[in-house]
């Protein structure tokens, strides 16, 4: 079956790749564009390890077809740090040791970023509900939630600058 040329923007850069009709965006990111930060945990939209932001919306890259990406603006974990400077979320995940094996971390970071992009001052309850679709085997979530709350505070303080 024919593959389609797809033009999209990934982390601010224009990209072009060939997509099979039934190929997931996750497979295209990992196998065609070699952006292997997004992980495949379940492949069925349950675990959130492949979370990316498409046109401002958090989605599972495994639940989107690669050819759907035509013309879309995609943000992945590879674009989170700014020229080697960690994003406040990444910094706080390290500070709080909010990861152990790290497999869920790219997804948790992108999901957290999507939350703070639209809600800079979330309550703990809001954080927990927002991240309910990101499954972590190791941390028990508490450190993750604290890291997100502190990163939100960091980002709020940074704003006036």
């Amino acid at each position: 079956m024919s593959r389609k040329v797809v033009n999209a923007t990934v982390n601010g850069e224009p990209v072009e790749f060939l997509a099979g009709g039934g190929q997931s965006l996750l497979d295209a990111l990992r196998d065609e564009l070699r952006l292997t930060g997004s992980k495949e945990g379940c492949g069925t939209g349950d675990c959130g390890a492949c979370s990316v932001i498409v046109d401002g919306r958090l989605v599972c890259a495994c639940l989107m077809l690669a050819p759907e990406a035509e013309g879309k603006r995609i943000e992945t974990i590879e674009g989170l740090a700014d020229n080697g400077h960690l994003h406040p979320l990444q910094h706080q995940f390290l500070e709080h040791a909010a990861l152990q094996c790290g497999f869920c971390t790219p997804g948790l970071l992108m999901a957290s970023k999507a939350l703070l992009d639209r809600n800079p001052d979330p309550t703990e309850t809001e954080v927990r509900y927002w991240l309910a679709g990101n499954i972590c085997r190791c941390t028990g979530y508490d450190k993750v939630v604290r890291a997100v709350m502190d990163a939100a505070a960091d980002l709020r303080q940074e704003k006036p600058r």
Binding site: G21, G22, S24, G45, R57, Y129, A132
Partner: protein, 286 residues
């Protein structure tokens, strides 16, 4: 999932044409279809993605009625202030589907046409008296939401028909709706039971119209007309609520599975319908 052709028609007419091909399947958000393809339960030759059709994901108000595009995402529905105000029950049902990530893609059209007995938005849409706008080779037709699901995974839509939008009627002054579901945890699970209720009151608070629908207690979501009738003419007194509960329990024909026994589901359906009715009443008064 190799060997699948992906099409993204730019109009409803093109989508209908694309569906003439044997083995073509409609995709809206894809949160059910792509999972089914992955596990081999769905094997479409062609996936017809609706999302490039102008307006297919729009939500708009028209003379007090709301038109919700079949592919509008749960997230977009939850962010629409006018819709939240007019139809809070429909919105809360749509927003219960899956995680934040799933909300970014999942649609009401997909939730209905996937035809799961436990689809959260369906009882709320049935209670709301929502109509489906369906396009086919001979043009458009309308059908009530309760006429779409015919069995688990089956709908009354022809293979070359596309659900384009939902039409929610104009609200009377004192009206409200609510949807409640029971799951064993607070997030990320499939309904053991769901109940949607929509009511309209007169100025004195007496119920003049009511629709009650329950999900996950039969092969399809049920419109329980006797439960709505039990409320009409009442001021939600105990005797009316007891009648509503009895009507829901009588209509429920659940299965027993790992999520709950038939007896439990029947009891909970009645309880949730009562609670949803009281929330809908309070919203109607507010």
């Amino acid at each position: 999932m190799s060997g699948v052709e992906y099409l993204s028609p730019g109009s409803v007419a093109e989508a209908v044409k694309a569906l003439q091909v044997e083995g073509a399947r409609v995709m809206a958000g894809g949160t059910d279809l792509l999972v089914q393809m992955r596990v081999g339960r769905a094997k479409p030759r062609v996936v017809v993605d609706l999302k490039r059709i102008p307006g297919i994901a729009d939500i708009r108000e028209q003379d007090g009625a709301f038109i919700i595009g079949a592919a509008a995402s749960g997230a977009a529905i939850g962010e629409h202030e006018g819709l939240r105000k007019a139809w809070p029950g429909v919105v809360e049902a749509a927003n219960l589907i899956g995680s934040t990530q799933v909300q970014g893609r999942a649609s009401l059209g997909g939730n209905l046409c996937n035809a799961s007995p436990a689809a959260d938005s369906v009882p709320a849409l049935i209670a709301a008296g929502a109509a489906c706008v369906i396009a086919g080779p001979k043009g458009e037709r309308e059908a009530p939401v309760e006429a779409i699901q015919t069995a688990p995974g089956k709908t009354s839509l022809a293979a070359n028909e596309v659900l384009v939008a939902f039409r929610l009627p104009k609200r009377a002054v004192y009206s409200g709706d609510a949807y409640l579901r029971l799951i064993p945890r607070t997030e990320m699970d499939i309904a053991v039971v769901g109940a949607g209720v929509s009511v309209t009151l007169d100025a004195s608070g007496k119920c003049v119209d009511a629709r009650v629908s329950v999900g996950a207690v039969a092969p399809t979501a049920l419109l329980v007309e006797a439960a709505g009738a039990a409320l009409i003419g009442s001021s939600f007194e105990e005797v009316a609520l007891a009648k509503l509960e009895a009507a829901v329990a009588a209509a429920a024909k659940p299965i027993s599975d790992k999520r709950g026994t038939a007896e439990y589901r029947t009891k909970v359906a009645a309880v949730l319908a009562r609670r949803a009715a009281l929330i809908a009443r309070d919203r109607a008064k507010a």
